[in-house]
Symmetry: C2
Subunit: 262 residues, 2 copies
């Protein structure tokens, strides 16, 4: 059981993690496994851990950090779940050859545009209470004809129209202040009142713009549009929103990353 540092130069995939300054702060309220996974993730993002390189075995890593192996495993596992690392039994844990960023998130168009530096703005076209159509009632799990809030908005980026967003919400869920709707995204408003979003069922298709849609979005009638329907659920399983949205295909596409589930 050699304790001295090994020469280790077997090709180009020797453990590089040994050179990293890793360490945890036990006085911090941040969980130890999370501190470690953040440090490793930062090292990968910054290229200090080269793609394809081995991380070094878990036992040694645990010993070096003064942690138990399960704790180190928990840190590594979270990065495997993010797609940054790959484990192979009998081989080791390898840094994936970049290219991978984030798996698909339940994203808000507002946040997406803001993150892209697109300066999103919103015009509220409608903010009313209407009886639920059969389609909306089925999606939200309410009775057909029951009161449902209808919010229709036009979303701009750099003052160019990008999308028409039509959302249906249970009336009791949220105080939909029009001024607030114009200054932020719907998901942010939900989170602000304590709703924990959990999952969404989406459908993405395409269709031709009708005259009204073309006028709103500044496209020609018949122009191709991206159409998305989405039902969002909170962590109690309740449907909190049904959206029926159209996007200008000339200006917008959905980009996302998928991970294969093992």
């Amino acid at each position: 059981m050699p304790k001295q540092p090994e020469p280790e130069q077997p090709g180009g995939s020797a453990p590089q993690a040994a050179a990293l300054r890793l360490g945890v702060d036990r006085t911090s309220p941040v969980p130890l496994y999370f501190q470690l996974s953040q440090q490793l993730e930062a090292a990968i993002e910054q290229g200090r851990l080269a793609p394809g390189s081995l991380l070094g075995n878990e036992i040694e890593l645990a010993a070096r950090l003064g942690l138990s192996r399960p704790t180190v495993r928990q840190a590594i596992q979270s990065l495997v779940d993010k797609g940054l690392l790959v484990r192979r039994r009998g081989v080791g844990t390898q840094v994936l050859h970049s290219k991978v960023r984030r798996p698909l998130e339940l994203s808000s168009l507002y946040d997406d545009l803001e993150a892209a530096g697109q300066r999103p703005t919103t015009r509220v076209l409608r903010n009313t209470v209407e009886p639920a159509t059969a389609r909306v009632a089925a999606a939200l799990g309410v009775a057909e004809g029951a009161d449902v809030r209808l919010v229709e908005r036009l979303r701009y980026a750099h003052d160019e129209p990008m999308a028409r967003l039509r959302n249906h919400l249970p009336v009791e869920l949220l105080d939909c202040d029009t001024a607030q709707l114009e200054s932020t995204g719907l998901y942010r408003m939900m989170r602000a009142v304590g709703i924990t979003l959990h999952s969404a069922r989406q459908s993405v298709g395409a269709r031709a713009a009708d005259a009204e849609e073309a006028r709103l979005l500044g496209e020609a009638p018949g122009a191709p549009l991206l159409a998305m329907e989405r039902t969002t659920f909170d962590d109690t399983g309740r449907a909190v929103e049904f959206g029926d949205h159209i996007y200008r295909a000339s200006r917008y596409a959905f980009e996302f990353q998928l991970l294969v589930r093992p």
Copy 2:
């Protein structure tokens, strides 16, 4: 520390798991946590664990099954990751109100159609080696003009054209037998030769059909099409495929489930 079975009827959310026949087989090579998670998943799917009901605390569950708490936690965690359960500190673990099925997977159109009972068939339009265009070279990480295999297929469901699939692959990756391409999906062929798919970067947009595309798909010129570009990576981080696909919007939409990452 009350050891006797409690009356427990606090509303409608008492632990129902007590009524379940759970048990693990220690002689099986299947991991204990996996056996447990499968049993719980089946109980949820079949409604034997009602949505919203509590699972009962982990310690007790572990004791009942003769397992350690970490093992039980691992089983529960895998179902939380699948979106079937929700944990709340101080409260318990609850079954989510159904509706949730699978998060988005890296799906093959062939498998999707087959799973939907759509009887997919394929016509190979091209199966050649071509020099890589700039776009393809960038996606696959090869030199511009380098040899790349080009596979172009028309995919039918019930003998109706659904999509035109155009794939670019590194030449050395796969023996692309045309007969095989007509009888199965590309991902299956990759898995069959030991390629482990890991992730994909996708972009979904819409555009109008040109004359050629319209003719192939049986649509009118100018009809809206769903357009998807996808680069797929294996678990070494290597790009194994770049796809440039169009789907008839009148016949096809992408459906998927998203989970919010905590």
